[in-house]
């Protein structure tokens, strides 16, 4: 019942977005029913539509959770993008170094591995790397805020630039296959591959890119829920976000919580590497993230910073991404920009409500007099 009430507004926002989007489609000169039929039909059909939709949703679940955890501690993590880049590169590095020698299709060795670890060791190690490196990168702005009071919005944005530039540099000068015109590292060893769902679940074609990372994302949702609402640590994180003065009064070190929440947030963002590096590209590919970190903010917002909401919102955004490709290709006039219009309107509606409540509500902007 409570959940239903919580979901009501996001659902209304989505419905309105589709309505307004439909008007846009009419103005462009297409039939909205056809366009929406195309959009949803391509995204929600079995097996290809759903397989791809889940694949696109996976990284957004991770980044949505990342933003949500930080938000529950009263922090706006704009840095998921940088956190996932650094983590993805580090994960690829582990996959390369511990994945043994890799040969290309012509039998030419392209890997630079030191040793060859079995998949049973290497996959957990690589996943751990993704989480730890993302967490470390996320903890930096947390520490800067706790120690110096530097605002996390500024520091996370700045760290995004540093992260992207840093991994580009390493890719370009140290880990690219010689002569490869594409900005990407050499591939990780086969032992670092996270299998596609189709590889072991009968009935799912193996051509679909949705991988075990999707299952990890579901587990992450459950873990975040338990962490935030069922543990003492989560209580302290949420108390810090809800009212830092009262948290201090209750003997909670808000500085510690800020660093902790940012580290958890960064770790979750880093898990995008499981899907994108270990599960799909099997290498670090420069600029691989389609703004997952930033879209994660929208996902968290739409999902009300709750794991269940984040999961559903990520599915919606995954649907839009998948459907957008088909709308682009097969509709008369409408391009995939329609998807961005829809996303934007959804966010606009949800944000308009957020103006009236929540910790970043309007009283933050239009301050009432001090009492």
């Amino acid at each position: 019942m409570k959940l239903l009430r919580e979901l009501l507004f996001p659902l209304v926002a989505v419905a309105f977005a589709f309505l307004v989007g439909g008007i846009v489609v009419v103005l462009i000169g297409d039939n909205p029913f056809e366009v929406y039929g195309l959009l949803l039909g391509s995204a929600l059909t079995w097996p290809d539509g759903i397989g791809y939709t889940l694949f696109y949703a996976t990284p957004l679940i991770f980044t949505g959770l990342a933003v949500a955890v930080a938000f529950r501690c009263g922090l706006l993590n704009i840095g998921a993008e940088g956190q996932l880049y650094v983590a993805a590169f580090a994960t690829a590095w582990v996959g390369i170094k511990f994945g043994g020698t890799v040969v290309d299709v012509f039998g030419k060795p392209v890997g630079y591995g030191w040793v060859t670890l079995p998949a049973l060791l290497l996959v957990p190690l690589a996943i751990l790397t993704a989480v730890v490196v993302g967490a470390a990168w996320g903890a930096i702005p947390g520490w800067l805020k706790a120690r110096f009071g530097a605002h996390e919005v500024i520091t996370t944005i700045m760290l995004n630039f540093i992260a992207v530039a840093l991994v580009s540099y390493f890719t370009q000068y140290f880990y690219k296959a010689p002569g490869d015109p594409i900005m990407q590292t050499v591939p990780v060893g086969p032992g670092a591959h996270v299998p596609r769902l189709g590889a072991f679940i009968p009935g799912i074609p193996e051509r679909l890119p949705v991988s075990v990372a999707f299952l990890v994302a579901i587990a992450a949702c459950a873990l975040v829920y338990v962490l935030l609402w069922r543990t003492k640590w989560g209580y302290e994180i949420r108390a810090t976000g809800a009212n830092p003065s009262a948290a201090e009064y209750g003997g909670i070190s808000t500085r510690k919580q800020i660093v902790l929440a940012m580290a958890i947030s960064g770790g979750l963002a880093g898990m995008v590497a499981i899907s994108e590096v270990l599960g799909y590209r099997h290498r670090y590919y420069d600029g691989f993230s389609a703004n997952y970190g930033f879209t994660g903010i929208a996902v968290a917002l739409l999902g009300r910073n709750h794991p269940v909401g984040v999961f559903l919102a990520a599915l919606l955004f995954g649907t839009l991404i998948r459907g957008g490709i088909f709308v682009d290709a097969f509709s008369e006039h409408v391009t995939k920009d329609l998807v961005e219009v829809l996303q934007a309107i959804v966010i606009l509606f949800v944000a308009a409500e957020a103006l009236f409540r929540g910790p970043f509500g309007r009283f933050g902007l239009l301050k009432r007099s001090k009492v």
Partner: protein, 503 residues
């Protein structure tokens, strides 16, 4: 001047105003009293056009008027000052006042003319407000006068004031009452919503008492007493005076020596404060707000940065000058903070979650498990709710949904659960209903009798003198005297509070 006739207003299932009749004579100060939720504010918001009544009529100057919006009300000469001010901090007084009623053409606001008018008004009522000062530079009392000017500038003849003294210090209240009397002299009519009986008796000509959405009485102030008003408000006899036995004080629990706290934001800090609190006694701290009480309690609770503190604080012989808040709680120091919304509660958390704040990491989960024991928390919350009569008795409600008195009872219940050896309690009954005040006072005395040391800070002189066994007076961050609350007079304390010497 104003008459509400047979007004009824429902909010969902709640009957906020049940067929009420209120008549305000022109040129008088009319108090509307009642406990929180009695329907006073609703009635006045209807008069101001904020809400529309379901039935009944509003008469202004003897004629039935349709007051659908605040605009209608303003047009008929009604102004309202809300409990929370509606001011833009970064704009000047004049800009705030003309907001929504800008003089001059649409393009060019004639601020100079406005400032002149405002200055004239300010002089007329001796408000001493500078029109060109930015609002953020004003004290709370001055901001309130800006709100008054806002109404006067719109030619209000009837002013409705919603809990105007809640945010004022005792001196500001005095000044404010003087202003109201001047307004009455100039022929204005004032309606003041309050639940403080002493103020009703001090300022009003007539009183309308409300309870549970109904008008339960209308009396002339000169012909009534605090006891009668309290009985009307609560619906039963209320003990305004605390009953307590002689304190049986034990050994020193808290010992403060030469405590100095550097000036905090908006406060005066503490200078060389020394005193002790013994087991089984209540030591009161009286003083005008902002004289270091906040710093004193927060420092003793471990909420002041260590670098700001010098001197020594001992708890049961142990030096805790720089101990963290959590450590102090573990030693047995509980704290009822002065500002329950800022410090005491997580407003968006439910009652169960609020009932474990500060204790969440040890009890009720006795194990070292990182998981919260939801069942244990719930049963403990139910215990607090039962023992402290928190209403509504639903641990799943957010703390925000409770009235001030019930929020305060929840906090006090939570802190009592710690079985403290020392209780730091600040403004325990601020914004709390009379019935709940009586209840809280009884609980504090009972805690004292069980052997707990209590340090009580309150801006209500009545409260500290009736509860405390010993009374310290604080002024400009110093303890300027100790008096015996049984033999002292308000005059003696008042003199000490304002820096005067003792006779």
């Amino acid at each position: 001047m104003l008459e509400l006739r047979d007004i009824t207003k429902r909010f969902g299932d709640v009957l906020a105003n049940d067929n009420i009749n209120i008549r305000v004579e022109p040129g008088t100060i009319h108090a509307i009293v009642g406990e929180n939720g009695a329907g006073k504010s609703t009635a006045m918001r209807i008069a101001y056009g904020f809400y529309t009544a379901d039935s009944g009529e509003i008469l202004l100057d003897g004629e039935v008027r349709a007051v659908q919006t605040p605009h209608d009300a303003i047009r008929h000469g009604v102004g309202m000052v809300h409990q929370h001010f509606m001011l833009v901090d970064t704009m000047t007084v004049a800009e705030n006042i003309v907001l929504g009623a800008e003089p001059g053409s649409a393009a060019a606001i004639d601020l100079r003319k406005a400032a002149e008018e405002i200055r004239a008004l300010s002089d007329e009522f001796k408000l001493s407000v500078e029109p060109n000062a930015p609002v953020e530079s004003l004290s709370v009392g001055q901001q309130q006068r800006v709100e008054l000017l806002k109404a006067l500038y719109r030619r209000a003849r009837l002013l409705i004031l919603d809990e105007p003294t809640a945010v004022l210090t005792p001196q500001e209240v005095e000044e404010f009452f003087a202003i109201l009397r001047r307004m009455r002299q100039q022929g204005k009519t004032v309606v003041i919503i309050t639940h403080k009986l002493s103020e009703v008796l001090a300022i009003s000509d007539d009183v309308t008492v409300m309870r549970d959405g109904k008008v339960v009485g209308r009396v002339r102030t000169a012909e009534t007493s605090a006891e009668e008003l309290a009985r009307l408000m609560v619906g039963r006899e209320v003990l305004l005076r605390v009953e307590k036995a002689e304190a049986r004080a034990g050994g020193e629990v808290l010992k403060v020596r030469g405590l100095t706290v550097s000036v905090g934001e908006g406060g005066r800090g503490l200078r060389d404060v020394s005193f002790a609190v013994r087991a089984g006694e209540i030591v009161g701290v009286a003083g005008v707000e902002g004289n270091g009480q906040t710093e004193l309690i927060e420092t003793l609770a471990g909420l002041t940065p260590a670098s700001h503190i010098s001197g020594a604080v001992q708890f049961e012989g142990r030096n805790i000058t720089h101990a963290a808040a959590r450590q102090r709680r573990e030693l047995g120091i509980a704290h009822v903070p002065e500002d329950r919304h800022r410090r005491g509660l997580l407003l968006d958390f439910d009652l169960a979650e609020n009932s474990i704040l500060g204790d969440h990491y040890r009890r009720p989960a006795v194990s070292t498990s990182p998981l919260l024991d939801l069942e244990g928390i719930r049963s403990r919350a139910l215990g607090v709710i039962r023992d402290f009569d928190v209403r509504p008795a639903n641990p799943d409600l957010p703390a925000r949904a409770l009235s001030g008195g019930n929020q305060q009872k929840l906090i006090i219940g939570r802190e009592f659960e710690l079985k403290p050896k020392l209780l730091l309690v600040s403004q325990p009954t601020r914004g709390v209903d009379i019935g709940a005040i009586e209840f809280i006072h009884r609980k504090l005395v009972a805690l004292r009798d069980s052997g707990c040391a209590v340090l009580l800070v309150s801006a209500e002189l009545e409260e500290v003198t009736s509860l405390a066994d010993r009374l310290l007076v604080i002024y400009h961050g110093r303890i300027v005297g100790e008096v015996d609350p049984k033999t002292t007079s308000h005059e003696e304390i008042g003199l000490l509070m304002t820096g005067g010497e003792r006779k």
